[in-house]
Symmetry: C2
Subunit: 396 residues, 2 copies
Amino acid sequence: MKFSSKVEKSGLSPMRKFHPFAVAAEAKGRKIYHLNIGQPDIETPPQYFEAVRNFQLPVLEYAPSPGMPVLIDAIQKYYDNLNMHFEKDEILITTGGSEALAIVLQSILDDGDEILIPEPFYPNYSTMVNTTGGVIRPIPTTPEEGYHYADRAKVEALINEHTRASMCTNPGNPTGVVLTPEEQRLMCDIAKEHDLFIIGDEAYREFVYAGEPLQSFGEYTDAAENVIVIDTVSKRFSACGARVGAILSRNHELMGHVMKYCQARLSVATLDQVASAALYDVGPEYFAAVREEYKKRRDTVVSKLKNIPGVVCSEPKGAFYLMAALPVDDADKFQQWLLEEFEDNGDTVMFAPGEPFYATPGRGKNEIRIAYVLKQADLERAMDLLALGIKAYNAR
Amino acid sequence: MKFSSKVEKSGLSPMRKFHPFAVAAEAKGRKIYHLNIGQPDIETPPQYFEAVRNFQLPVLEYAPSPGMPVLIDAIQKYYDNLNMHFEKDEILITTGGSEALAIVLQSILDDGDEILIPEPFYPNYSTMVNTTGGVIRPIPTTPEEGYHYADRAKVEALINEHTRASMCTNPGNPTGVVLTPEEQRLMCDIAKEHDLFIIGDEAYREFVYAGEPLQSFGEYTDAAENVIVIDTVSKRFSACGARVGAILSRNHELMGHVMKYCQARLSVATLDQVASAALYDVGPEYFAAVREEYKKRRDTVVSKLKNIPGVVCSEPKGAFYLMAALPVDDADKFQQWLLEEFEDNGDTVMFAPGEPFYATPGRGKNEIRIAYVLKQADLERAMDLLALGIKAYNAR
């Protein structure tokens, strides 16, 4: 049987290959500390489950294709509070940020079209872009420069007649880079000057640690035709399993095309929309507490990493990830060895090897992504295991 | 800004254009009887809401990308009870039957590839196929022949080197056609002989009214490489808003490609999967009661239609739709007139005009799709309004 050439070009999740080794390690009684996935352990606010329990309609009907008014209202109000106004028809609810990204990319990319994405980047972007027929043109960055990418010369050198868009994951996954207002302004200016869409994937907006105000490409109303904001309740409210996200854009032609996809898939889950709307009732103390917790975890990870000889990393300013270059030959082999050969008091550790975060062949080979989503004590233990592992691996 | 050529080729929902007229009619105090949408009024089994209320985990986490084991188990058992066995890795959970269809079509169709679909067909197939770059090759049917399509000569005449698959919506939306076992066998044989996928969109499996056993293309294990079953809880359990569906196939290469999409979009909503698994606990008395109710509605609609002079329709054998040819010049104009000009004691009626159900230009112009999803008394009133409307429209 013949399959789509686009899906043939895509791969399964590169993280998946370690799953059997993890299962085998656990079967041997090993305890694995997971720094490899971005599943927060923070409790989902009780408002979600209360709304779900209070749902009283006898028939679980389709929601409207653009989203339920109660949720669109809540999101509109949330942005108004951040001094960004979107009209209701400039907000379309999606099944998570993932569907938001997939629909936007399908709407703007054709075979051979290019999208600029700073690398390292979230590996699912590869499948999402490949299946449109488009191509990722990576904006290269380096650990030594703190993965900084918003540089006019660097970005403009990569723009050609096939370029349609640029993607800014801000705050960044996997790097934790947070754009300054000047850098956001620059990325918008480049998009405007070259007639490109600029996609702000802002899933981690609340997770910034330097006291800066929450930011969004949605602020740049002069780039109304260019800016597309990808949003989600997943990380904001530790509600990844709700699968509720949104596309926000003031480009009405784009939103008309996006609506075609929204209508073809009928609707987003009804109960999850009602419950997600209730999440927007949580007060600022919720975010303050969560931010404080992640900031502590970041500080722990960074200080532990700085004490491991040969590790290169920079302090992430946002999100809950960081990339680090390790003094090992190959992070993939090192991860497999940690699962198959290593243990300290029966414990070992998993992270995400760096190569899948890069489009440029050969890059990221000695890098890893750490998700600092564990409680303080577990995180400390995990980082100690990493240090012990590096030492033992290089002493073989 | 430039958009994807594939999304440019797609259209917004053709039903949408009547929305402003319906709003205006309601603003004038009209009551509209809705025969235009497939949203059942049957209550969702309480098991769904009980499961949701009993959910106790503090963090609403991502579910596994292939689906939650509890739901995969429930679906496997459901098929085992129908004497069809699927292994667990032959079942992938999706966000409704809609995502199941979209992922399957994206996985098997390339630019210029063709898929055979009997027309009239579910209009969202158009967007789903267009956005792959593929083309629908309609298998023509007629109201006079009861929309019958499973005919070797008719089907084979349409197969060429671009043909990759055929789609059988069984029981049929919008026609209510139910394939006989011989017809299913024939469609499988054709798929095998011509190396095509055969997609069974079986959302309405439980809704058959002649006492026949529930059927599925999943029974044809000799066509394991060809058959793809699209399933959903939406209609089976009147849980359209759950957005929980599944792809079932014994073609492991296909399922590997499908998994790439499943991983890229991370997961299906967690709570809806838990609750959907609980739905599979309902007993046969639930389906017997629902089936009896829809059968009565079908009988009401058909007998009412037969008494309207000039209407051509055949008795649907399944699902809860029927197509009917009306003695009017143009079903679109008639619908608009019903909303703008007509009323009987303040009431009017909406159905779905037929053209969007056809790929062949000009076909379906005097046809409508009726969704018999209203309670008995409302349905009778709606059909009387249709009869009065036709008479008044043609007497203008």
